[in-house]
Symmetry: D2
Subunit: 342 residues, 4 copies
């Protein structure tokens, strides 16, 4: 079986396991008072070239929902694209954990949000009474179609948002892949571009069971710690989460893992484009490849033991994991070739 | 420094780490579709001698709040003692994550809930219109004062609860310690005594970063899976949580760890009782020892480097971890002796 | 000053006041146990030609949010147009009072929802895991642009909705105007077309301070009474709300008031269309007239003492109340003429 | 039938109806922009001898829940007696509409809260981590047993509360009866004693369908207007609610109505105390009389056509309305006499 359905099916990078083993010594204060959590703050501040505050949490959904709850406040609304993960794929965790936070879709499904679209929507909303208070704009890095916002694009959106009093939240489920693709620094893509708070994805890119929230702007997350406690998302033995995220950020591990996944995806896309009847949809900018091919070919691919995510009749997503090998990609390409020919 | 402040300061049992390492092989379906999660269901069903459904979660607070949210429904209320953990110590996570679930304190602080107290409270509530719907009774195992409900006591409360249509929830933060103390089977203390849903504590007793919800009565948790997803409490790489809980339940690890902690506590209590000016408050039934001694003695103990939890002027709690050694206990006893003498 | 800004600025019909006066006699059970509430059930059941249950509430927002909360349940989502009142104009009352209910915009702003659009959206949603559960479709009668769904259009949408297990909710803020325009029966536009639950607008059409929820399908509103109580929306002296709604439904008062408003709007539109530089946007189907004219003309109109709702640079909404006189409309037309000429 | 079950069964005072009739003239801005609402602010500020802000709402539950939601904030808890109306009788509206607000019972059921009890509870809570934030203390005027807090008692509690950063909320469902009993000014019992926000009861004391929130301390209700809008509790035709509350406050109507009810209750209690086998429980301080008499006598009373509220086997509550006549009380006394004798 060839597995290209998700980055969540992969094991963790060995360095992560080793970090857990190393953290399993002696007694330490609970609920984040430990040394690993302290070192994580320092390490992340170095990585982002700014004093940040990092909160490990159990999932990307938790990271998104709680960071948005803190940033939006009770009566705030969150602007996002119509296919944003927080809007379509998280059981309204943000609306619920925010205590009534509202999602306001703006822009075009499948595409990146444009600063002008946000400006138009906010200008329109400003003219109405009785609307929820525009509070946060959410950017997904990478988008649902694997596209990556550049630092310039983020900055343009942040400028619009900040001018109207909104905070900027980045859903960085594949933030490492975005940084690896762009070749910029993590700081350039976040704090220097105006991002106030980041859901920092770890699990999909070689982690075990912790993601993290990174706060750049303290006023964007004033009651975040209470939100986390009330949601049952503060581990008593925090060291086992902090040690994961710390190991992820040390020695460039996070970018090395992302680069591996991105390179596999680029190779897959380049070769698949050569197959007759197969079209690569969107330029590959992270670790996801979207291929359009005849429905019968997709059916044959599945029947032949290839696991991928079908997106409607003729569209499919193939995800490369941090540990996807060249051999796996080549086997997939052979299967695509065969399915397309027959 | 002698550390008796909490079981959360301990490292994890080596078997837990080894289980994570062993689980870190190959690809596997995400969100609980993996083999470790499947085996956990089987293992837990064997341990509890009944077909159960187990959901690993990130914390005891999450386990309590979400299991109660599912059991109580939107308009239900939860009866608990006035010092119950869900009422006083979890930032109203249950009220919030339940979408309006109400805690109804009944009984006496510091004491176990008695079936007759519950019956009286429910009879009183039944005579009033406009009250929240009585939905669940919550029992903490062990209580905030380290006391353990016997199977007979649980059964008596469950009988009252079930007769009035309530579900029985056990907050088993120290469930292993309770079973180890009682010498009964896990089934006798839960499903056979009428417990419908259990917050199954793992972290405090040698775990890393996962606790679990155990459902005995499916109708008591009908939408639990949706509650968990919406709260961001379903790990995509569930194997790393399930493998922990599975290892905990295999080869009697959980009871062995609990016995070690209980024995240390019993030894501490027995010897402390001999010290002049020191009184052991409540019989030790788990891994917590409550000592009453002069405030000045408690002050000296702290100054001398002993870490414990002060509970008012003359009362203090000392917790024995799974890895608390006899030498540590003896050192504590010497420190208590010295602090009491001077 | 000429007032065309809203139907909410009007006084109540004298019959409503008289009904309150008549209800102010003697003692009566509270919380809806009174005779006026009983008679309201009977009267509404006659009007809708089906056994209905009517709940007077304090506002249209309350009617929408609570009926949708009951119909959608905790995890359900509500499909509505991108400019639906519940989505844009009620501070997310539905999302909040529903305890996490999610709005899913579908269709085109300014236009009626089409059955095919709903079908496509639901088919798409059905293919995804992790989405909120599609639970209710919301239709606004009349739409934000004053358009009215016909019984056939409602039935087509209801057929799609019911086939996929969704309930049909009608936001009938101007339901009376819609019925008056269509010349159909209230039953044909609701229960016979598949509507399960209706926010029945009263206030805008000559009422004082009560609107109502009308339940056609009991299973669509199973815990509505608890939702209402918990939201503080059950009056202890319910007779003063029920008597209003009852009077509204007696002797055809509600349709007579709506017809007056509709006729004024039709007259306004017909004459305004004759004015050079003025365009009537959308056919008038209720009591709202949307006029497009040069921004300078709209400015002059405002400066000249005409009160209306500006909708962007060149678009304005003029609402005719139940008590808008022919003389007022003619004065407005003269002002429009003057503003357009100068 | 003799009706002593509730003050909610009474009709409204004629002055209230007349106020509605007088308000039913001409057009006026909606959502509180009208003249009646403006005059209400002025009148209430005169009554309370301080600049106050008044918000009419649909019910006492709404007034309590929304004023507490605004005062407590998302993470705050509300201290109240174990039998407080907000805790036992409003379906957890406060917990729900506050988005997770927690009730913390303190004191003794049936008795007024004492400042020392509050101080002890707050001191205890301050020593614990992980507790909800103590935010508001709630006083019910009159209590569930008809007892009235004096200005001195309110001030003592407020002093404790303010010293620890809590706001003081008064549930004034029978505030008029309390003022009438005490003979103090409304200011002395509220703003001058340290009350920050008041649920001002109107309905029970001759109103129709509006109660009100009175804000003395603006910082205690910072987002109250948004809470009210989101809860569907802002009437578009606000004049019909404001006119009611305004009439209630004019010419001393509210105190005159309360005095009538209180006097009937005092007469009832004085005479009932003379009946053998009947005991008046608690001194009558408002319009409620609690009588203890043999269960069989209470049964006979009910069978004989007297309507009252049974509170357990031998205890019953008799409420005098603003329009309860001396003849009705005397008839009740005769019935009590007869029931006790037989």
């Amino acid at each position: 079986m060839l597995d290209f359905r998700s980055d969540n099916t992969a094991p963790a990078a060995p360095e992560m396991l080793e970090a857990l083993r190393a953290a399993n010594e002696g007694m330490t204060p609970s609920y984040g008072g430990d040394d690993w959590t302290r070192r994580l703050q320092e390490r992340a501040s170095a990585v982002f070239e700014a004093p940040v505050r990092v909160y490990p949490v159990a999932s990307g959904t938790a990271a998104n929902a709680l960071s948005l709850a803190a940033a939006a406040g009770t009566f705030g609304s969150v602007y996002c694209t119509p296919d944003a993960h927080i809007h379509l794929s998280e059981w309204n965790a943000t609306g619920f954990l925010g205590g009534g936070t509202k999602m306001m879709p703006v822009g075009t499904p499948g595409a990146k949000l444009q600063a002008a679209q946000l400006e138009a929507a906010l200008a329109d909303a400003a003219g109405w009474p009785h609307k929820a208070r525009a509070a946060v704009v959410n950017l997904v890095q990478a988008t649902e179609m694997g596209q990556v916002y550049t630092p310039q694009e983020v900055a343009a959106i942040a400028q619009v948002a900040h001018a109207r009093g909104l905070k900027v939240h980045m859903d960085g489920a594949r933030f490492a892949n975005a940084v690896a693709h762009l070749g910029c620094t993590p700081a350039e893509l976040t704090v220097q571009a105006g991002v106030d708070i980041l859901s920092f994805g770890v699990t999909k890119n070689g982690g075990l069971n912790a993601d993290a929230i990174v706060v750049f702007t303290p006023s964007a997350a004033e009651e975040l710690e209470l939100h986390l406690m009330r949601a049952g998302l503060v581990w008593s033995k925090m060291r086992y989460a902090s040690a994961q995220v710390l190991a992820y950020l040390e020695n460039g591990l996070w970018l090395r893992l992302a680069r591996q996944a991105n390179e596999a995806a680029l190779h897959l896309a380049a070769q698949a484009a050569e197959v007759a009847g197969v079209r690569v949809v969107e330029q590959v900018q992270a670790n996801e490849v979207f291929l359009r091919m005849p429905a019968t070919a997709l059916d044959r691919l599945r029947e032949g033991g290839v696991n991928y995510a079908r997106r409607g009749g003729e569209l499919a997503r193939f995800v490369c994991r941090w540990d996807t090998t060249r051999a796996e990609v080549d086997a997939l390409l052979a299967a695509i070739q065969a399915a397309s020919v027959s």
